[in-house]
């Protein structure tokens, strides 16, 4: 795989009252598997259905009901593992994680503690052109989601919606390789991008389809490197886990707050207590949810209702063969093949559909020009109107045609923007629009010379000034453009003005 070279960024340093501190962050990202049916039941996963309408007897944990594994969910998790360059464990197993809660009808979550489906992998987290952090993935396991408890519908009663109960999740566990709040957000962004490329998770954070538990600790400069050399967690500080974050902004704010909270404790001579915390976005604070002592004893044990999961290497290979080109490779190819900047390649590859659009525009054309038009005009306009690339009123063919008109000199860049506007609001064939509306660029030298001469003749004072200060020649160009309704070839006008003024 072709990847762009990079160097790792410096870790974020926070100056405490007494000394400098670094952050060490590990994440557990829960990604809802994109599948029509739940992990162990045939019930639908559709979001936004009437409460308790997507619930099978299995999901409701009726007596005697048994889980049956949805093979497609496993395929999706394998695909995800392959996309994160991870090892796929041909034998894995499901365990029960036991705890009582009304939105967990079985009284246990079926998960994979002892033998996860996916082993070690890695994610390249791009932070700036040429700067990236390689974050190691420890494991990915497949598990059931819980339902939803609703406490604000009635003053005295709580309600439970089991629609989400049993939906398949992938828990993607990173190593503590993330070194700052921005990196954490960039890591989630990158994971989300890869998952969306793979089609294994829609990445919709608002609906809770992608959410993160963030483990944060602080350490003195140098300690992290000793941890990496020795693997000894003793070099790191005590971590706190911030649960259930579903916004990039909150992830950063929570980490920032949590790091400063821990620094203040340590600098005051205290000790950070290992615990689970929640982020309160209105106050911008984390607060304790439960301490280590209060932590549930989940009494994990192998789920006796399910046999160990055995998959075949050939099946994994088949999935690998259908893997799409992933962001890192695509980005590298865009830089190499189209000559676009790494920054532009980043923008172009953020979404698979956008990258495909770009490639359709760039095919047989100048890559840079295509990138320019796609990013600045099209993406800019789409963003402004909150439209997705798939909803773009201007097709790749139309945009390509427009670029061709510029390349052949038939229209200027400025006119092209007008044509783009017409394409956006009215549609049509760009060449036809230019033709029908008389927007073709004037390159006839005779006509241009006449226009230049007319402007010079009418403005003797300006001529004097321009001869003294050649920078003012641009004013004449502007006047000529105005006089020709913008259709004059600006370069040609420029040349004629310079010649006539003797510059």
């Amino acid at each position: 795989m072709l990847d762009l070279a990079f160097t790792p960024p410096a870790p974020k340093v926070i100056a405490g009252a007494r000394e400098d501190w670094e952050l060490v962050i590990g994440m557990e990202v829960h990604a809802q598997v994109a599948s029509a049916a739940k992990l162990f039941s045939g019930a639908a996963t559709r979001f936004g259905a009437e409460p308790n309408s997507n619930v099978s007897f299995v999901d409701a944990a009726m007596p005697g009901m048994l889980p049956v594994l949805n093979e497609y969910c496993i395929e999706q998790a394998v695909r995800t593992g392959l996309g994160l360059r991870a090892t796929i464990n041909l034998t894995s197993a499901f365990d029960r994680k036991n705890y009582f809660y009304p939105d967990l009808p079985q009284g246990y979550q079926i998960s994979q503690l002892y033998h996860p489906l996916v082993g070690e992998g890695e994610v390249r987290v791009d932070l700036a052109p040429g700067v990236a952090r390689m974050v190691r993935i420890e494991r990915i396991h497949v598990e059931q989601d819980a339902g939803k408890s609703i406490h604000d519908m009635d003053p005295a009663l709580s309600f439970v919606d089991l629609n989400r109960t049993g939906v398949a999740l992938m828990e993607i566990v990173s190593r503590p390789d993330i070194r700052g709040p921005e990196e954490a957000a960039a890591y989630v962004t990158k994971l989300r991008q890869i998952l969306r490329y793979l089609g294994t998770c829609d990445g919709n954070m608002q609906n809770g389809n992608l959410r993160a538990d963030v483990n944060v600790s602080i350490c003195r400069p140098g300690a992290y490197e000793r941890f990496r050399e020795t693997g000894d967690h003793g070099h790191l500080g005590t971590r706190c886990e911030i649960k259930n974050m579903n916004s990039m902004r909150f992830i950063q704010a929570a980490i920032e707050y949590e790091a400063r909270r821990q620094i203040a404790i340590v600098e005051d001579g205290g000790k950070v207590v290992q615990e689970t915390r929640l982020y309160d976005p209105t106050k911008g604070e984390t607060r304790s949810m439960r301490s280590k002592e209060e932590a549930h004893d989940y009494r994990y044990f192998p789920c006796p209702d399910l046999l160990p999961l055995e998959i075949e290497q050939a099946w994994v290979d088949d999935i690998a063969a259908t893997l799409p080109e992933l962001p890192d490779a695509k980005k590298a190819r865009f830089v190499e093949g189209y000559g676009v900047t790494e920054y532009d390649a980043d923008v172009l590859t953020a979404e698979r559909e956008a990258a495909d659009f770009f490639e359709a525009v760039a095919a047989g054309r100048d890559g840079k020009a295509a990138a320019n038009w796609v990013i600045n005009e099209l993406f800019g306009r789409l963003n402004k109107e909150a439209l997705a690339i798939t909803d773009s009123p201007v097709s790749a063919g139309q945009l390509g045609g427009l670029i061709d008109l510029i390349a052949s000199g038939e229209i200027s860049g400025k006119i092209a923007k007008d044509v783009f506007e017409i394409l956006w609001s009215e549609g049509g064939d760009p060449a036809r629009i230019v033709e029908d509306r008389g927007m073709r660029q004037v390159t006839d030298t005779g006509a241009l010379e006449a226009a230049v001469d007319a402007v010079i003749a009418a403005n003797p004072a300006q001529v004097e000034k321009a001869r003294a200060n050649p920078k003012l020649a641009g004013w004449f160009v502007g006047q000529v453009m105005k006089a020709t309704g913008g259709k004059a070839n600006p370069q040609a006008v420029n040349d004629i003005v310079a010649a006539r003024l003797g510059l």
Partner: protein, 493 residues
């Protein structure tokens, strides 16, 4: 001819096909017998209306000639099986009022084969018990008795065993996690077969210990067990642990010819303090098989003594998790709450009221053995022991043994209430010969083989190779014939 309700399934099947009587008449005989047997407390929920409707449907099928073996045969269903629209509460208060909107695979297969459900049978609560005394319905009573002592029919399938022994049905479903089919069969002079784990679907059966639970038939003859198993067994895609294996014609396996079969007698089952009459019966059983042409050899199953302790770690561990769903949130019993009670109080009160003492004991034991810090010492160790027990059997079979002969229980039926004051472990010892079979996932069958000095039935157990219920039934058939056990309890109820 004896009363219709006392017929064997095979005889009734043949008679129904001949048109000697109708399924409706046969069912009516059973329903009448049930009405007069309240003292046995075998049926927790009789379903006479369903029985009559299904009998009528069976008669229609019999008339058209589309009559599988179980067509028109009246049976009882253990309360552990979920039956559509019919109370299914695992003999527990916590499932009071629960009527499942679905039918367990095994009972559905029986229904589809034309069997007539007479009602739901008493059992130990959540199948946890060996005497039927943990039932919320009160104990089923053994139709066998000594003087005026009321005896246990065993457990947990005590209602099934009592009903079969007393002629309140022609056969019954049971489930067996550590001996719950075979021990009651032995106590009531009936036949009880626990199939290979995975032979019958667990779908729709209230789970006790999922890796050990297995449904099986309880009948008056070995042939009946073969017939009924044929209707109960089969692959079910809704149970991942159900085996995708063809179901052979078990009845056809009853050839009467067991010449050349090797029968193992495990040394380790010779327990200190085992009653002499049981020892003698065991030896007699070996003689009968030898006389029929089998070869009897001593074998060793060295890890046998660890089976019971390991079982009482694994089964409660799984149960503690399986029973977590009974929380009062969605179905069954929910405790009345006081002002200010929250979800924790709801759980605690509901489960304290809903579960009886034995279930609570096992949930607590199971929770304990899975807790952080104890998991390796108990649960993991028990799993390793289980592997060793299974290997003991594997080695014996590899060495050429076809089946293993043991007593079914260390004693005959005991009196109801007699175990109430003793250590629960005394009760657990009832399962000493049956538990290893569940731990290894093997088929085992209890065959009535004799009487003790008080005139109570005693059983022998045959343990077979995995998936070889056919050959196992063939041996059991020969054993049954040789034993000539034809006694029925005198009707006192």
């Amino acid at each position: 001819m004896s009363d219709l309700n006392d017929l064997s399934i095979s005889d009734a099947r043949d008679a129904l096909r001949r048109g000697d009587f109708t399924a409706a008449e046969l069912t009516a005989a059973c329903l009448t017998a049930m009405e007069g047997a309240g003292a046995l407390n075998a049926y927790a929920h009789p379903t006479p209306d369903i029985a009559q409707a299904r009998a009528a449907a069976a008669d229609d099928r019999l008339r058209t000639g589309d009559a599988p073996a179980m067509c028109g045969i009246p049976i009882g269903i253990k309360d552990l099986f979920c039956t559509e629209g019919v109370a299914s509460q695992a003999a527990s208060r916590i499932l009071q009022g629960f009527r499942p909107p679905y039918e367990s695979t095994v009972s559905r297969q029986l229904r589809d084969a034309g069997a007539v459900m007479l009602g739901k049978l008493n059992m130990d609560e959540f199948a946890m018990g060996s005497s039927n005394e943990t039932s919320v319905y009160g104990p089923a009573v053994n139709p066998w008795k000594v003087d005026d002592r009321r005896l246990t029919p065993g457990g947990s399938s005590g209602g099934s065993a009592a009903a079969v022994a007393a002629g309140l049905c022609l056969g019954a479903t049971g489930t067996d996690t550590g001996g719950s089919i075979r021990q009651p069969a032995a106590f009531t002079g009936t036949v009880g077969l626990k199939p290979t784990y995975g032979r019958c679907s667990r779908w729709g059966i209230v789970a006790f210990a999922s890796s050990l639970d297995q449904a099986g038939p309880m009948t008056r003859t070995v042939r009946d067990a073969a017939i009924m198993l044929g209707a109960m067994a089969g692959h079910d895609p809704r149970d991942s642990t159900s085996a995708d294996m063809a179901v052979p014609d078990f009845e056809a396996a009853l050839t009467g010819d067991i010449r050349g079969k090797r029968i193992g007698i495990p040394t380790e089952y010779r327990m200190d303090g085992m009653p002499e009459e049981i020892e003698a019966l065991w030896a007699r059983g070996a003689d009968w098989l030898r006389a029929a042409g089998a070869e009897v050899v001593d074998i060793s199953l060295p890890h046998t003594k660890y089976a019971l302790p390991a079982y009482y770690v694994i089964a409660p561990a799984e149960a503690s998790s399986n029973l977590a769903r009974y929380d009062g949130v969605r179905y069954g019993h929910r405790a009345a709450l006081a002002q200010g009670d929250g979800i924790t109080e709801m759980y605690e009160k509901t489960r304290a009221e809903g579960f009886g003492p034995e279930v609570q004991r096992r949930v607590m034991v199971g929770t304990y053995v899975l807790s952080a810090g104890f998991y390796d010492a108990y649960y993991n160790r028990a799993r390793k022991v289980r592997t060793l027990i299974k290997r003991d059997f594997d080695l014996a079979f590899e060495a050429g043994v076809d089946a293993i002969l043991t007593p079914t229980t260390p004693s005959a039926a005991f009196g109801l209430g007699e175990m109430a004051q003793v250590d629960p472990v005394q009760m657990y010892l009832n399962d000493i010969f049956t538990v290893p079979v569940n731990m290894a996932g093997l088929p085992g069958i209890a065959v009535p083989a004799g009487m003790d000095a008080q005139g109570l039935p005693l059983g022998l157990q045959l343990i077979g190779r995995p998936w070889e219920e056919g050959p196992l039934l063939a041996l059991a058939d020969v054993l049954e014939t040789a034993a000539g056990f034809v006694s029925r309890p005198g009707k006192w109820w």
